[in-house]
Symmetry: C2
């Protein structure tokens, strides 16, 4: 039986998975991300974890198709990473680092959001589709795009960076990238909480959120589900901007389906309903519905997609 490994490198931990070729997950586990020494330890750790797993499961090198790695930074068309702010790594070919440590093995590198999209296409909510856009709503707004079954990474590796769309020309506060009015500032979890606090000040209607010293994304969506006016107004505003961004993306790539993942997706169908309502209002060219659905693989999407890069190689 042939197997393939997927690794999804994050700022806190590295997710690892061993898969059958047909997509069956045989084993998954986590290790902490050690950032010292310009990321060198990350590659050491992944290599030793995979070697140990092969020994544990009695898998010979001949049976390993390869290892796919997701990286939390733009990966350009030469698999080069110029700057990975999250890990403090610059100017590196992560694939070459892995190959040095695992000679003879096929290695593929992808951006984390992009491989998550590929993973969802392979074994998640995108099954049966060849063209999709996955948005992740978490600390930031990320997205990954698959066209004709393949990841679109772009010349500089910034394809799918819809978080840096300008959606509000009237906004004067700055996005982390230096721009203003970007989707990141409005539809990320911190963005949503920012607007909730703003609306709580401006709008004097009662809200359960006022009773809390602090609240998070789950508190907000729970309140919205209970009919809380301010929570609902916040979701409506922030997801309205996200939907406008998706409508714009539809005018460029017109995907089969949009998937919504990340921490905010735990809010479930309410979130989809709000996004869908605004999406339809911002889309004039087709009255046929484009499906918007919840992603289904959660934090495992990355390891699935990383493995799929090898299977497609």
């Amino acid at each position: 039986m042939n197997v393939v490994f997927g690794a999804d490198i994050g700022g806190t931990d590295i997710k690892l998975g061993m898969f059958q070729e047909d997509g069956r997950l045989l084993s998954k586990w986590l290790i902490p991300t050690r950032m010292e020494d310009n990321g060198r330890l990350i590659f050491d750790d992944i290599a030793s974890e995979i070697k140990n797993k092969m020994q544990e499961k009695s898998v010979s090198s001949q049976c390993v198709l390869g290892i796919g790695c997701g990286f939390p930074a733009p990966v350009d068309n030469r698999s080069f990473v110029r700057n990975c702010v999250n890990l403090g790594i610059k100017d590196i070919y992560p694939g070459k680092e892995m190959e040095k440590r695992m000679p003879g093995l096929i290695v593929r590198i992808g951006n984390d959001a992009n491989i998550a999209a590929l993973g969802e296409m392979w074994q998640g909510s995108g099954q049966g589709r060849r063209n999709l856009l996955l948005v992740t709503l978490g600390t930031g707004v990320g997205s990954g795009i698959v066209i004709d079954g393949k990841i679109v990474s772009g010349r500089h590796g910034i394809a799918g960076e819809i978080g840096h769309f300008m959606v509000d020309p009237l906004e004067t506060e700055h996005c982390s990238c230096g721009g203003t009015g970007h989707l990141n500032q409005i539809a990320s979890v911190p963005g949503i909480l920012h607007y909730a606090r703003k609306f709580l000040q401006e709008d004097k209607r009662p809200s359960v959120l006022r009773e809390k010293e602090d609240f998070d994304g789950a508190d907000l969506t729970d309140a919205a589900k209970e009919g809380d006016a301010i929570a609902m107004k916040t979701l409506d505003y922030c997801m309205g901007h996200l939907a406008r961004g998706l409508a714009i993306a539809a005018h460029i790539i017109d995907p089969d389906i949009f998937l919504i993942g990340g921490g905010m997706a735990k809010a479930g169908q309410l979130l989809i309903d709000v996004i869908q309502k605004h999406y339809v209002a911002n889309h004039y060219l087709t009255k046929e519905e484009t499906q918007i659905r919840l992603a289904s693989l959660g934090n495992d999407a990355g390891i699935y997609g990383a493995a799929k890069m090898i299977i497609d190689a």
Copy 2:
């Protein structure tokens, strides 16, 4: 020697071309578009033109690789056209119509803007690239996208419809599609002329445009080249919005190059310079320059791309 035919169906005329496999154009000609009878005559005419050309050039059917056709409407992923407003045709599979008339020949159908992008990649300014976006600035703002060497048409055939991006949320006038503040309303030739007239009223500085009873896009760009303040202000405003649209597209597909074609492209390098200036100001994620260049095939881009669809088939 094998040949391939390309046809680009427009509202006024049909452009036809006979090519060698290597891209050499052997013959090109035009016929009027006859719109009667739900477009049936269009397919009759193309078929008889190609048969005549084969006879004239002594080309046997065995040597014809196929015929590619560009259609001025969204062509969905089943090569179905729901509604071609320009030609007054609805609910048609143009490929099946052609195949009926030329049995045994391979036929491929594409949207006109999309095949123009493919044509520019093959034999125009996009040579050597696999990922590009071609914008055409004419009666409307159209665009075609090529990713990994292939046209992206999308589920509903509306990929690349950047003319229907909302770029100005403050605009209250309506676009032809029903939306407001769309790029079409600002960066098409009629849009540019609209803003020129508006600025001539609001801004009292002298302008050669005031001396004309009526002026067109060429008058405007000629005036801008001579340093006319109002003409330059108009270009700056309208191309600034286009550049914002391109920056947004870069955050989705991050192409190797943007090409600018259509009637307005006759303005030449000045147009590119204005677009480039605003593009850089709207793009935060990479400081590496994305190339923006003039398209080079003009009205022939469509027949080149139509032929290329067959060569790639």
